[in-house]
Protein backbone atom coordinates (compact mmCIF):
# COMPACT_ATOMS: atom_id res chain seq x y z
CA UNK A 1 0.00 0.00 0.00
CA UNK A 2 1.32 3.40 -0.92
CA UNK A 3 1.65 5.98 1.79
CA UNK A 4 -0.51 8.81 0.50
CA UNK A 5 1.21 11.68 2.21
CA UNK A 6 4.66 10.57 1.15
CA UNK A 7 3.56 9.92 -2.38
CA UNK A 8 1.89 13.30 -2.77
CA UNK A 9 4.73 15.09 -1.06
CA UNK A 10 7.19 13.57 -3.52
CA UNK A 11 4.99 14.20 -6.54
CA UNK A 12 4.60 17.84 -5.68
CA UNK A 13 8.26 18.21 -4.88
CA UNK A 14 9.23 16.81 -8.27
CA UNK A 15 7.01 19.29 -9.99
CA UNK A 16 8.32 22.17 -7.93
CA UNK A 17 4.94 22.82 -6.41
CA UNK A 18 4.76 23.88 -2.79
CA UNK A 19 1.91 22.54 -0.73
CA UNK A 20 0.05 25.19 1.22
CA UNK A 21 -2.45 22.84 2.76
CA UNK A 22 -3.45 19.21 2.45
CA UNK A 23 -6.04 16.99 4.05
CA UNK A 24 -8.07 13.85 3.68
CA UNK A 25 -11.53 14.55 2.38
CA UNK A 26 -14.30 12.00 2.01
CA UNK A 27 -16.92 12.57 -0.65
CA UNK A 28 -20.21 10.74 -0.32
CA UNK A 29 -22.10 9.89 -3.48
CA UNK A 30 -25.75 9.08 -2.90
CA UNK A 31 -27.91 6.97 -5.10
CA UNK A 32 -31.43 8.33 -4.88
CA UNK A 33 -34.41 6.47 -6.30
CA UNK A 34 -38.12 7.19 -6.36
CA UNK A 35 -40.78 4.79 -5.09
CA UNK A 36 -40.73 2.75 -8.26
CA UNK A 37 -37.01 2.19 -8.06
CA UNK A 38 -36.15 4.57 -10.87
CA UNK A 39 -32.76 6.16 -10.29
CA UNK A 40 -33.06 9.92 -9.90
CA UNK A 41 -29.45 10.56 -9.14
CA UNK A 42 -26.32 8.51 -8.75
CA UNK A 43 -23.63 11.07 -9.37
CA UNK A 44 -22.05 14.06 -7.71
CA UNK A 45 -20.25 16.96 -9.27
CA UNK A 46 -18.15 19.55 -7.50
CA UNK A 47 -15.41 22.09 -8.15
CA UNK A 48 -11.79 21.42 -7.34
CA UNK A 49 -10.19 24.13 -9.41
CA UNK A 50 -6.59 25.03 -8.55
CA UNK A 51 -6.32 22.03 -6.30
CA UNK A 52 -5.04 18.51 -6.71
CA UNK A 53 -7.25 15.68 -5.53
CA UNK A 54 -5.76 12.23 -5.19
CA UNK A 55 -8.16 9.31 -5.06
CA UNK A 56 -7.14 7.09 -2.20
CA UNK A 57 -9.70 4.31 -2.07
CA UNK A 58 -10.19 3.25 -5.67
CA UNK A 59 -10.40 -0.38 -4.58
CA UNK A 60 -13.46 0.35 -2.41
CA UNK A 61 -15.55 1.89 -5.16
CA UNK A 62 -17.85 -0.27 -7.30
CA UNK A 63 -16.54 -1.54 -10.61
CA UNK A 64 -17.87 0.71 -13.36
CA UNK A 65 -17.55 3.95 -11.40
CA UNK A 66 -16.46 6.77 -13.66
CA UNK A 67 -14.62 9.78 -12.28
CA UNK A 68 -13.95 12.61 -14.66
CA UNK A 69 -12.14 15.87 -14.17
CA UNK A 70 -10.34 18.46 -16.26
CA UNK A 71 -7.12 16.53 -16.21
CA UNK A 72 -8.10 12.92 -15.78
CA UNK A 73 -10.76 10.37 -16.59
CA UNK A 74 -10.95 7.15 -14.66
CA UNK A 75 -13.16 4.15 -15.27
CA UNK A 76 -12.84 1.58 -12.53
CA UNK A 77 -12.64 -1.87 -13.96
CA UNK A 78 -12.03 -5.25 -12.45
CA UNK A 79 -8.39 -5.08 -13.41
CA UNK A 80 -7.81 -1.51 -12.24
CA UNK A 81 -4.93 -1.45 -9.83
CA UNK A 82 -4.69 0.88 -6.87
CA UNK A 83 -2.37 3.48 -8.33
CA UNK A 84 -3.26 6.87 -7.04
CA UNK A 85 -5.19 8.84 -9.61
CA UNK A 86 -4.99 12.59 -9.65
CA UNK A 87 -7.79 15.01 -10.47
CA UNK A 88 -8.03 18.73 -10.98
CA UNK A 89 -10.91 21.04 -11.87
CA UNK A 90 -14.55 20.01 -12.19
CA UNK A 91 -14.77 16.55 -10.70
CA UNK A 92 -17.71 14.28 -11.37
CA UNK A 93 -18.20 10.91 -9.76
CA UNK A 94 -20.68 8.73 -11.57
CA UNK A 95 -21.75 5.43 -10.01
CA UNK A 96 -22.51 2.57 -12.39
CA UNK A 97 -26.08 1.45 -13.07
CA UNK A 98 -25.23 -1.87 -11.55
CA UNK A 99 -24.69 -0.28 -8.14
CA UNK A 100 -27.77 -0.82 -6.00
CA UNK A 101 -26.73 0.47 -2.58
CA UNK A 102 -27.74 3.86 -1.30
CA UNK A 103 -24.40 5.51 -0.78
CA UNK A 104 -20.77 5.19 -1.57
CA UNK A 105 -17.81 7.03 -0.19
CA UNK A 106 -14.83 8.15 -2.21
CA UNK A 107 -11.85 9.23 -0.16
CA UNK A 108 -9.60 11.93 -1.55
CA UNK A 109 -6.41 13.57 -0.44
CA UNK A 110 -6.89 17.22 -1.23
CA UNK A 111 -3.82 19.34 -1.93
CA UNK A 112 -3.91 23.10 -2.22
CA UNK A 113 -0.73 24.52 -3.73
CA UNK A 114 0.67 27.87 -2.70
Amino acid sequence: MINVEDYVERQMHRRDIKIAYARMLPVVVRRITDNTGKVLNNAIEFDAYNQYWFLVNAYELPVGTRITSDTNVLLLEAHTNDTMEEFWGKIKIQLPDSFTGSLCQALFYQVIPT
Partner: protein, 142 residues
Amino acid sequence: MTKTRIIYHPVPFIVRQPLTPVTINTVLPGHIRKVTGIKVVHSVGVQFMTTAAYLPVIGYLSLEFNNKCYHFGHVDVPFDNRAEASDAYQDAAIDILPGSLLTGNYENKVFTGTEYQKADGTLTDKWSNYIVTIYLKALSDD
Protein backbone atom coordinates in the same frame (compact mmCIF):
# COMPACT_ATOMS: atom_id res chain seq x y z
CA MET B 1 26.37 25.32 -33.99
CA THR B 2 22.89 23.92 -33.73
CA LYS B 3 20.11 25.67 -35.46
CA THR B 4 16.53 25.69 -34.33
CA ARG B 5 14.22 24.40 -36.98
CA ILE B 6 10.68 23.24 -37.42
CA ILE B 7 9.61 19.65 -36.94
CA TYR B 8 6.29 17.88 -36.89
CA HIS B 9 6.10 15.24 -34.23
CA PRO B 10 3.17 12.81 -34.29
CA VAL B 11 2.03 10.92 -31.20
CA PRO B 12 -0.43 8.23 -32.29
CA PHE B 13 -2.60 6.34 -29.84
CA ILE B 14 -5.10 3.54 -30.30
CA VAL B 15 -8.62 3.39 -28.85
CA ARG B 16 -9.66 -0.18 -28.27
CA GLN B 17 -12.84 0.10 -26.23
CA PRO B 18 -15.68 2.58 -26.37
CA LEU B 19 -16.04 3.27 -22.65
CA THR B 20 -12.56 2.90 -21.24
CA PRO B 21 -10.61 6.14 -21.20
CA VAL B 22 -7.20 6.01 -22.81
CA THR B 23 -4.25 7.20 -20.78
CA ILE B 24 -1.45 8.90 -22.66
CA ASN B 25 1.94 8.72 -21.11
CA THR B 26 4.91 9.30 -23.33
CA VAL B 27 8.23 11.08 -23.35
CA LEU B 28 8.84 13.76 -25.93
CA PRO B 29 12.15 13.57 -27.81
CA GLY B 30 14.87 15.52 -26.07
CA HIS B 31 15.55 17.76 -29.06
CA ILE B 32 12.11 19.39 -28.94
CA ARG B 33 12.44 22.85 -27.41
CA LYS B 34 9.12 24.48 -27.92
CA VAL B 35 5.68 23.45 -29.11
CA THR B 36 4.13 26.10 -31.34
CA GLY B 37 1.08 24.29 -32.57
CA ILE B 38 -1.12 21.32 -31.80
CA LYS B 39 -3.49 19.41 -33.97
CA VAL B 40 -5.38 16.28 -33.06
CA VAL B 41 -6.79 14.22 -35.89
CA HIS B 42 -8.48 10.92 -36.34
CA SER B 43 -6.20 8.72 -38.43
CA VAL B 44 -7.91 5.46 -39.29
CA GLY B 45 -10.65 3.22 -37.96
CA VAL B 46 -13.79 5.32 -37.50
CA GLN B 47 -14.68 5.01 -41.17
CA PHE B 48 -15.51 1.36 -40.50
CA MET B 49 -18.22 2.42 -38.04
CA THR B 50 -19.98 5.23 -39.85
CA THR B 51 -20.94 6.23 -43.35
CA ALA B 52 -20.58 9.92 -42.53
CA ALA B 53 -17.52 11.70 -43.84
CA TYR B 54 -17.51 14.23 -41.04
CA LEU B 55 -18.37 14.07 -37.34
CA PRO B 56 -17.52 17.20 -35.38
CA VAL B 57 -16.49 15.41 -32.19
CA ILE B 58 -15.67 11.78 -31.62
CA GLY B 59 -13.93 12.35 -28.31
CA TYR B 60 -12.24 14.73 -25.94
CA LEU B 61 -8.57 14.86 -25.25
CA SER B 62 -6.95 16.46 -22.24
CA LEU B 63 -3.22 17.15 -22.56
CA GLU B 64 -0.52 18.03 -20.08
CA PHE B 65 3.06 18.98 -20.87
CA ASN B 66 6.27 19.23 -18.88
CA ASN B 67 5.76 16.37 -16.44
CA LYS B 68 2.18 17.39 -15.64
CA CYS B 69 3.20 20.95 -14.78
CA TYR B 70 1.32 22.55 -17.63
CA HIS B 71 -2.24 21.59 -18.44
CA PHE B 72 -2.86 22.64 -22.02
CA GLY B 73 -6.56 21.95 -21.68
CA HIS B 74 -9.07 20.09 -23.76
CA VAL B 75 -9.17 19.45 -27.46
CA ASP B 76 -12.15 18.18 -29.43
CA VAL B 77 -11.19 15.37 -31.75
CA PRO B 78 -13.17 15.44 -35.00
CA PHE B 79 -13.58 12.72 -37.55
CA ASP B 80 -12.99 14.27 -40.95
CA ASN B 81 -12.47 11.98 -43.88
CA ARG B 82 -13.03 14.70 -46.43
CA ALA B 83 -10.16 15.73 -48.59
CA GLU B 84 -10.72 19.37 -47.72
CA ALA B 85 -10.24 18.74 -44.00
CA SER B 86 -8.59 21.69 -42.34
CA ASP B 87 -4.85 21.56 -41.99
CA ALA B 88 -4.70 24.37 -39.44
CA TYR B 89 -2.90 23.92 -36.17
CA GLN B 90 -4.14 25.23 -32.87
CA ASP B 91 -1.71 27.87 -31.66
CA ALA B 92 0.40 27.11 -28.66
CA ALA B 93 3.60 28.43 -27.14
CA ILE B 94 4.87 25.89 -24.70
CA ASP B 95 8.51 25.75 -23.74
CA ILE B 96 9.36 22.11 -23.32
CA LEU B 97 11.68 20.77 -20.68
CA PRO B 98 14.06 18.41 -22.48
CA GLY B 99 12.90 14.83 -22.26
CA SER B 100 9.75 15.66 -20.33
CA LEU B 101 6.53 13.70 -20.23
CA LEU B 102 3.54 14.33 -22.41
CA THR B 103 0.56 13.03 -20.49
CA GLY B 104 -3.15 13.18 -20.89
CA ASN B 105 -6.21 11.16 -21.44
CA TYR B 106 -8.76 10.59 -24.11
CA GLU B 107 -12.44 9.83 -23.72
CA ASN B 108 -14.35 8.33 -26.61
CA LYS B 109 -17.72 10.08 -26.93
CA VAL B 110 -19.48 8.43 -29.83
CA PHE B 111 -20.12 4.79 -30.65
CA THR B 112 -20.70 4.17 -26.94
CA GLY B 113 -24.07 2.41 -27.17
CA THR B 114 -24.74 -1.24 -26.46
CA GLU B 115 -24.57 -2.03 -30.16
CA TYR B 116 -20.81 -1.44 -29.89
CA GLN B 117 -20.10 -2.90 -26.47
CA LYS B 118 -22.53 -5.28 -24.83
CA ALA B 119 -23.41 -5.01 -21.15
CA ASP B 120 -21.01 -7.81 -20.29
CA GLY B 121 -18.17 -5.82 -21.78
CA THR B 122 -17.59 -7.78 -24.97
CA LEU B 123 -17.19 -5.80 -28.13
CA THR B 124 -19.51 -6.36 -31.05
CA ASP B 125 -18.35 -6.57 -34.62
CA LYS B 126 -19.70 -3.07 -35.22
CA TRP B 127 -16.91 -1.65 -33.13
CA SER B 128 -13.61 -0.96 -34.77
CA ASN B 129 -10.44 0.05 -33.00
CA TYR B 130 -9.30 3.44 -34.15
CA ILE B 131 -6.19 5.52 -34.07
CA VAL B 132 -6.00 9.19 -33.13
CA THR B 133 -2.81 11.12 -33.70
CA ILE B 134 -1.64 14.19 -31.82
CA TYR B 135 0.53 16.33 -34.09
CA LEU B 136 2.89 18.69 -32.37
CA LYS B 137 4.38 21.44 -34.46
CA ALA B 138 7.59 22.07 -32.64
CA LEU B 139 10.94 23.76 -32.75
CA SER B 140 13.78 21.33 -32.53
CA ASP B 141 17.50 21.82 -32.19
CA ASP B 142 18.85 18.43 -33.13
